[in-house]
Symmetry: C4
Subunit: 124 residues, 4 copies
């Protein structure tokens, strides 16, 4: 399939809830950038994290293989530094091929989970 | 009414929760592509499902009649193969006429339901 | 302020939950099209409701005054006919001046509420 | 990084829930415009609040420093006047440099929280 989407995407509302009540990785509070690469070339994505009161962190580097999707949890980013919990942040993703990015958060701090999701802001 | 929308749409955050607590089909955990065809010609839609670690599945084929909406649950897709539960996936929908697609998930794994929704990413 | 937005908007995932557990109008299950008219002319909006298996209903007609917002609950539409509960539908809004439309649902069928929201699909 | 985004953004569904059940500022019912300024110049943002039945309020003025994000709670706006609770409103943000805006609400009126989020409507 043709490569669909944009080369750059922004997520303004980053926040990893600092606690969880569910059991297991699936119900752990987390925040994800869901990345779709429909094309026939692997996508190399550089991620920059912006904060309220310090210089940005990154780039974090991930690859999304051709014709694959990666639901990347920001909880899992550690290099060059972890993404802090309970802290406002924002994200820019820059890819060498077109991709589609959707932003989703699962919050299980209280006994029942809450979900939010939105298409990210895409641009070339 | 004129046919409104785009010919191709992408949903990056596909995930069918693997359990439910609500009673009946309405409160069953599910994920849907809500498709609107405002025009006067039937829409023939080919759906491709992308995964993290295997080649895409599909095409799944659905029709949305002229001047109708179809709230398609991915849970209900079986041909050429079911969409796995509890697995990250992504979706591309390709239509022969313009349509509008919105993505919605109802998660009732815990005792109270959670909802997410976003306009999908549209392009011609 | 200048009139901001688009003349036509589509919402593909219409659904009014058929029950509620909260007390009062605010916690009643409902679905709304939040309409913003930033300009200096009143907006006259014609709304068409699409269904799965019958011809569309409408037009419903609402006005949004200059420099005002209207959070229109589909529950409150009665002319030419009520919008059925527990039924999949979709919506097109057509305005004579540019407006911005956001779609929100509050679901209080179970003991705790769930929310979804997305910018609608806008076009001229 | 280059300044990413648009100069003007609209949020049509403004509503600050009038109560909370969670403990502390983090679980307090609130509504936020998450603003990302990726560029190398500070962003000066003028905010106008629209209502159902009165003239707009504002401008409220906030700054988002270069390479920073600000998750602005409408609850915290007081000058020229507080944003009323339990009241429908809408928002326009106008910036002198490109920004990205995402709209998020946390509702903790009932015992478990609910979340909604969407990219705002951007335009130049």
């Amino acid at each position: 399939m043709e490569a669909i989407g944009k080369h750059r995407w922004a997520i303004a509302d980053g926040y990893i809830p600092p606690g969880s009540t569910g059991a297991g990785r699936e119900l752990q509070s987390h925040e994800a950038a869901c990345i779709l690469n429909t094309g026939n070339s692997d996508a190399h994505v550089a991620i920059t994290i912006f904060f309220k009161d310090r210089e940005p962190a990154g780039p974090y580097r991930v690859a999304v293989n051709a014709r694959r999707t990666l639901h990347l949890r920001f909880n899992d980013l550690h290099d060059p530094e972890p993404v802090p919990r309970g802290t406002d942040y924002a994200v820019v993703l820059e890819s060498d091929v077109p991709i589609v990015v959707q932003h989703t958060r699962l919050d299980s701090r209280q006994a029942e989970l809450a979900l939010l999701s939105t298409i990210a802001y895409g641009m070339d």
